[in-house]
Amino acid sequence: MTRNIQSLERAAAMLRLLAGGERRLGLSDIASSLDLAKGTAHGILRTLQQVGFVEQDEASGRYQLGAELLRLGTTYLDVHELRARALVWTDDLARSSGESVYLGVLHQQGVLIVHHVFRPDDSRQVLEVGAMQPLHSTALGKVLAAYDPVAHSEALEAGRTAFTGRTVCDADTFERILDVTRARGYAADVEETWEGVASIAAPVHDRRRMPVGAVGVTGAVERLRQDGELRPELIAAVRDCARAVSRDLGARRF
C-alpha cells in the first residue's frame, strides 16, 4: 500500500472540523483539536485560504469554510443565465459583423444552441434555439472540444460523420486542429458542415477560467472569407464578443 500524503490528510481533517459543530474556529482551537503544532496548522490553513477553501474572518481572525468549497458542488452554470449575460454582446456582434450569431454549450455528444441572433438583414429567418450541431465539424463544436475535456472525449468517441468533402474525420488530424484552435484562441469551419457556409467561434469562460460555452458567427463562405482567408476583422469581433461575455460572467456574484 502506498503511503498517504500527511499534509493532505491534515487538510481534510481541518475541513471536516470546520464543516461540523461550531462553524468558526480560531487557530489554537484547530491546532489543539487535531493535535498539531500551531505553525503547522497555520501553514495548512494559509494554503487552504489561498485556494479559497477556507476564509478568515477579518474581525475575529477565526476560520470558516470558503465560498469556493461550496461552489465545487454546484459548478454548473445555468444556460439561461449564460444567455441573459450574452444578450447585449451577441446583438452587437450580429450588428458589427452583419452575420447571424450562435451561442452553444456542450450537450450529450453535440453542441446545443442556447441563443441565436438573426443576421441583421430583412430576410426571413427561423430561430434555432434548441437545435443541435455536431462537435467535430462546426466552429462552436471545435472550440468546445479544444477547451472542455468532457467535450473533447465526446468528440473523440462519437462517430465523426463526413458532411462534406472537407469534413475532418481522422482522429489525428482532428487533434491537430484542436491544438491550432487552442494556440489561436478561435476555431473555424469552412464548408465542413454545410456546403457554402462558414463559421468562426471563440470560447466563453467563467470566472474560474472554466470553458462554459462558445460563441460565433455563421454565414455564407463568400462573405466570411476574402482572398481565400477568413476576414481578420470578423475573427477579432468574435473574440471580442467572447471576451466580453466571459468578463460579464466573471463579474457575477456568487
Binding site: 444567455r83 441573459a84 452587437d92 441565436h116 441572433v117 438573426f118 441583421p120 430583412d122 430561430l127
Partner: protein
C-alpha cells in the same frame, strides 16, 4: 462639418453622433448612438430613492440634475468625442414625476414626487366628486389616479408653506423630469427654456388631448395655476441649446432637440410608426403601447388614452396604453420570497423541466388587478393545485401569467381600437427568456419580435432628436435602422389555447373580492 469626419472610434464607425439622456426612476443614463442606431458609449448613475412614509416616494431633483450632467460628460468621454461630433441631444424620462422650483434661484421647493407615490389618493377621490375617477377622462384620456402629475403639483401647493402665493406671483415653475432637465440644460436661471413635450404633458391630467393645450377648466378644478406650467411643444424639435455650467463648457451650443416619456420613447425606438403597431416592454412590470394613428380612442376597457409622439409641426400620433403591475416582479418574488430559484434566469430552466403547467395557474394580483379589470379588492391566487403539481409547474405558471396578462391587454386594445395585433415588438430584460417569448407568441397568437438594440427607450429619444436636426431625414430612415434579432412564431393548437385561456380567466375571477372593505 462634413459627415465623414472621423471620431476615431474604429469599431463603431465614424461620427457624427446623437446623444440621449434617459432620466429614469432609479438612475440617469446617457447613451451615444451612431447613424446606424448602434451604441457607442454608455454612462449611468443611480440616485437615491427617498421613502418618507409608507406609499410615499421622492427624488432629490438637484441630485438628479447633478447626475445628468455627470453621465452626459461621462458618456462623451467614454466615446472619445467632442462637441463637434454631437449633432443633438435628446431626452426621455420617467413619466409623471413632478418637481416645482423657484425660477429665480433654480432651486426645487421640495423633493420631486415620484409617479409611484400614492399620497394623492384621497385628493384624487375628492377631485372625482360625484362623477368618479372618469371626471376628466374625455379631455385627458386618463382616470383620476395618483400617478398623474397635476394632483401631485396641487399637493405641493397645498403642503409647502407659502408656495401657493409664490406660484400665483409667477415665481414658481412646474415640470415633469423632461422639463426640469431641459430648463437646466438650456441655461437654468439664465434664460432656460421652460417647455415640455406632448407625451409628457399628456400624463399631467392637465392637457386636453383634442387641442394639445393646457385645459384651463381642468387646471382650475385640480388647483394648478396655468402660469406655472411649461409651454407644450412637439416631441422632436429644437427647444434650445446647451448653455452655461460645466456642460456649457463641454457641449455648449448643441441643440436640445427631443423629449418623450419613457414608454413613448420605447414606442418610437421600436419604430412603431404605423397605426396598429404595438410594443411591449418587459421589466418588473410591463407597459404595452399601441399606435392608434390620428385617432383619439376612448377606452372602455380600462386602458389609457395618451399621446404617442409628435414630430415637429406634423400631426400628433395617439396611442393606447395598458400596464401590468407584476411580471418580472413575480419571477423576483419566486427567487427572493419563495427561494425556488437562485437567479431570475433559472426560472426558465425550472419551467422547462416539465411539459406544461400541470393544471396550475398563478394570478399575481399582489396589489389588485390592473387593466382591464381595475379591481383593487383582488389579491394573488394560485389555482388548480393538486398533489401532482411541482415547483416546476408553478415556474411554468409564473411565466404563463406574464403571457396571459399580455393577451388580456392585447384583447382590450383590439376591442377599443378595432385593430387586430399583427405582431408584437418586445424589449426589456425578460426578452432573454426564450420560453416566455415563445409562450407569448402562442398565447397572443401573433409573432413576437425582438429588435437588435435592447435600449429602445434611449434610442427613441435619440431618433426624435436626430429627426429634429436633420441627422435622419424621416421615419423611413429610422425603420431602415431597425433590425430583427429574433422572432418567435405561434405554434400552439387553437383549441388548447382557448381551453387554457378559459382556465386562466377562471383563475382571475377567483382573485376578486378578496378584500372585503375596500373603499
Amino acid at each position: 462639418m462634413t459627415d465623414d469626419h472621423s471620431a476615431g472610434i474604429a469599431s463603431h464607425g465614424h461620427g457624427p453622433f446623437i446623444a440621449a439622456i434617459d432620466q429614469g426612476t432609479t438612475s440617469s443614463r446617457c447613451i451615444v448612438f451612431d447613424r446606424d442606431g448602434r451604441i457607442v458609449a454608455v454612462d449611468q448613475k443611480e440616485h437615491e430613492q427617498i421613502f418618507p412614509k409608507p406609499g410615499w416616494v421622492e427624488h432629490d431633483a438637484a441630485e438628479i440634475w447633478t447626475n445628468v450632467q455627470e453621465v452626459v460628460a461621462g458618456a462623451i468621454e467614454k466615446a472619445g468625442i467632442t462637441r463637434d461630433d454631437i449633432k443633438a441631444i435628446g431626452i426621455t424620462n420617467q413619466r409623471e414625476t413632478t418637481v416645482l422650483w423657484d425660477r429665480h434661484t433654480g432651486e426645487p421647493v421640495h423633493n420631486a414626487i415620484v409617479w409611484q407615490d400614492t399620497r394623492t389618493d384621497a385628493l384624487c377621490r375628492e377631485l372625482g366628486r360625484n362623477v368618479g375617477q372618469d371626471r376628466f377622462r374625455r379631455e385627458t384620456g386618463l382616470p383620476l389616479a395618483s400617478y398623474f402629475a397635476g394632483p401631485k403639483a396641487r399637493w405641493l401647493l397645498d403642503n409647502v408653506e407659502g408656495l401657493k402665493e409664490r406660484a400665483e406671483a409667477g415665481d414658481i415653475l412646474f415640470g415633469t423630469m423632461d422639463t426640469w432637465v431641459i430648463w437646466n440644460l438650456t441655461g437654468g436661471t439664465d434664460g432656460g427654456r421652460h417647455v415640455t413635450d406632448v407625451t409628457n404633458a399628456s400624463r399631467t391630467m392637465l392637457m386636453n388631448l383634442h387641442t394639445m393645450r393646457w385645459d384651463e377648466r381642468i387646471a382650475e378644478s385640480i388647483g394648478v395655476p396655468t402660469a406655472m406650467l411649461p409651454e407644450i411643444r412637439s416631441s422632436a424639435e429644437v427647444y434650445g441649446e446647451i448653455k452655461g455650467g460645466g456642460l456649457g463648457d463641454l457641449l455648449g451650443g448643441i441643440p436640445v432637440a427631443s423629449a418623450l416619456g419613457d414608454q413613448q420613447a420605447a414606442l418610437f425606438g421600436q419604430t412603431c410608426f404605423a397605426e396598429g403597431e404595438t410594443k411591449s416592454t418587459y421589466g418588473t412590470g410591463t407597459f404595452m403601447v399601441m399606435n392608434t394613428g390620428d385617432k383619439i380612442i376612448n377606452s372602455y376597457s380600462g386602458l389609457l388614452t395618451t399621446v404617442g409622439y409628435q414630430i415637429g409641426d406634423q400631426k400628433p400620433v395617439y396611442a393606447l396604453e395598458g400596464s401590468i403591475a407584476v411580471t418580472g416582479a413575480l419571477v423576483q418574488w419566486m427567487r427572493d420570497q419563495m427561494g425556488l430559484i437562485s437567479t431570475a434566469a433559472e426560472i426558465e430552466t425550472l419551467a422547462l423541466s416539465v411539459e406544461d403547467n400541470g393544471g396550475a395557474y398563478f394570478v399575481p394580483a399582489f396589489s389588485g388587478l390592473f387593466a382591464p379589470y381595475w379591481r383593487s379588492d383582488a389579491r394573488g391566487v394560485i389555482a388548480g393545485l393538486t398533489r401532482y403539481v411541482t415547483k416546476a409547474h408553478i415556474a411554468r405558471a409564473v411565466l404563463e401569467a406574464t403571457a396571459w396578462q399580455t393577451r388580456e391587454i392585447a384583447d382590450a386594445m383590439t376591442k377599443d381600437s378595432g385593430v387586430e395585433l399583427t405582431a408584437l415588438k418586445v424589449d426589456g430584460g425578460m426578452t432573454s427568456n426564450n420560453l416566455l417569448m415563445q409562450t407569448l407568441a402562442d398565447f397572443v397568437d401573433a409573432p413576437v419580435v425582438r429588435p437588435m438594440v435592447a435600449e429602445t427607450t434611449c434610442l427613441g429619444a435619440a431618433y426624435a432628436a436626430g429627426l429634429a436636426v436633420g441627422f435622419w431625414n424621416n421615419t423611413d430612415d429610422l425603420r431602415a435602422n431597425w433590425r430583427r434579432a429574433a422572432e418567435w412564431t405561434p405554434h400552439m393548437d387553437a383549441e388548447i389555447r382557448d381551453r387554457e385561456y378559459k382556465s386562466w380567466l377562471k383563475a382571475v375571477e377567483r382573485t376578486m373580492g378578496w378584500l372585503e372593505d375596500e373603499d
